[in-house]
Amino acid sequence: MNRHYDIVIIGSGAGGGTVAHSLIPLMKKGLKIAILEQGPHFPHSFFTQREIEMMRLFRYNGAWPVKSGEITIAAGQGVGGSTLMYTGVSFRLPASVADEWNVPGLSIDDLTKRFDRIERDIHVMTPSENMVNDNNRLFKKGCERLGWPLKKIPLNLKNCEQVGFCNLGCTSGSKQGTLEVQLPKAIQHGIDLIPNCEVIHLAEKKIYAKIRKAPPNTLKSKWPPGERTIHSDIIVLAAGSPGSSGLLLKSGFQHHLPQLGRNITLHPAMTLYGVYPKPIVNYRGFPKTFYTDQFTNSFGYFIETAFYYPFVSTRHMGLWGKQLSEIMSSYNQLMTVLILNHDDVRPENRITLDRKGSVQVNYQLTDKVIQSLCHAQIQTSRLFFEAGCDKAIIPFASPPVIHRDQQKKVEQMIHARHFIPIKTPVSSAHPQGGCAMGKNSETSVTNSWGQVHGFPWLYVADASLFPKSAHVNPYLTVMALADRVADKIRNDHT
């Protein structure tokens, strides 16, 4: 069956959802627009707050390994993309990072205007005192005792019930991701939202897709299962990184775009745990309210508060045997933080296709990143003990459980030589790059408006556009760039 649209957006996350919302004026003028989403459309009633049942919100159950196996990537799969299962963290791109990106035609002033507007649309606020749970209070105490700057994390929330299950889908709809804000408005204005629609191949103004049956308890697509060819005058790729690059590679665009799949960064992250002497019940209340940038400029990482559910916590700890049983028997006493490294672009790190034509991420941690993660673990163990913890679980330490009476020896115990690829748990929730913005096709894939060099009918509107790491959680930056893409499309139509 063939269909024709004026504009088709592929992907419904922070990028695709924002483009759809920003194109409402064109829908009012009568243009036909569709948004194709590979994953299902989950209603609020789908979110059961049980981690084994909610693994289907994530691609590859939340642990998509890079080719070397050194890092696993967590990315959302469904209408709303990764805004389904993020915590609502809404940082602006720092001006210094925009300068470092140095994309001709992209200025921080332009982004700032968009940040102002988008923040109003998605209700970005700083958390109030009554949102701070015990885990966050301990983080505050530790930072204050160490003299580190303590900052509040901007969050996009409205009437949050603080039940603590943000990463398993928000049951109340308080988290203002694209599923709650941009997409409902776009649907109200007539956009066709097609879930369970996997795009197989792209050609000039043509999309080949496969519609799958809706999984149980999810909303049905208005198109029946089967193969479709969709014609569109403009195609906006917002399938995320590495999804957008992967689709372009599968469609043969690498022959015209030598930089396709390059410039990737992942924000390698580790979740660390301390054992507090009393219950702190981190699984209730809002999980993330504070961070510190004490080591951002000097060692390239942030430390943020965090919370994870029992099974996922066992993956982060890297423990097993007696140590695992001991620590897990104190699960309600665990203080949890996340260290987030901002990595550099490396020529060997890139998105490619494997022998079977599937998308693969080639990524290896550099010595610089490993040293940075090591430094972060030393500092975080100090934070745990200053906050009052009796033990710290540190994957780069030997042995990995450090007791309070050993705290003076942490620098000897925690060492980069203890990093063993695959064994040491490193993850990423922020894949970026692959279709970098820039001046021409020799150095980049798109211009600063997300328009693909040499293909005026094709745009990219997601984290793939980043030429380097955003340093901070990327969602608000993705939304601002997607809004620029929509601006360009709107201006070309007037």
């Binding site: 009633s45 789908f46 979110f47 059961t48 707050q49 049980r50 981690e51 084994i52 049942e53 289907r56 642990a63 390994p65 070397s68 196996g69 039940v163 299950f165 049951t171 999984p215 149980p216 308890n217 999810t218 219950p279 699984y283 209730r284 029992p310 099974f311 066992t314 993956r315 097993w320 045997g321 007696k322 695992l324 049983s325 001991e326 897990m328 028997s329 104190s330 699960y331 309600n332 006493q333 063993i420 690829p421 695959i422 064994k423």
Partner: protein
């Protein structure tokens, strides 16, 4: 496909030598401690079997093959299949795999450990001993009633 007949779940992938290997490995990964019971039970194996059933075919083949490798490698660590090794020899074999110079062993071990932890810590009967209260929307209907019932211990697992 997994089978549920009259409140029973029959494992489709973990049986025979693989079941014995998984149960023994689970006792090493999650030994009994304080209120925590040991990991190697049919209930753990049932959840692992369900999860294996959800895997893409190729990954499922690799994972099942790895369990067989763990079984056979027991001969190098004590002259017997893994589940018949002394506990200390089982630990020695798993530790070797975890830090092996060969990527495939490290990857396989991480997968095995993850699935065993999934099979144990997602089951409600173990939440009390780790002091986890579980979901607030406790009765929200499950997208997959089989895994809900397995995790709630409402169906008996058969090998």
């Amino acid at each position: 496909m997994t089978l549920i007949k009259s409140k029973r779940y029959k494992c489709q992938h973990i049986k025979g030598h693989r079941l014995k290997t998984i149960l023994a490995a689970a006792n090493c990964i999650i030994p009994e401690h304080a209120g925590l019971s040991k990991g190697g039970t049919l209930d753990t194996a049932g959840v692992v079997d369900w999860a294996i059933d959800q895997m893409p075919k190729e990954l499922r083949f690799q994972f099942l093959l790895f369990i067989s490798v763990v079984y056979v490698m027991g001969f190098f660590f004590g002259g017997r299949p893994f589940h018949k090794l002394l506990y200390d020899d089982q630990i020695r074999e798993l530790k070797w795999m975890e830090s092996s110079p060969i990527n495939a062993f490290r990857m396989g071990f991480m997968g095995l450990k993850s699935y065993i932890c999934m099979g144990y810590f997602t089951r409600e009967q173990n939440w009390t001993s780790i002091h986890y209260c579980g979901p607030i929307v406790y009765d929200q209907p499950s997208p997959d009633p089989v895994i809900r019932q397995l995790c709630q211990g409402k169906i008996k697992v058969q090998s």
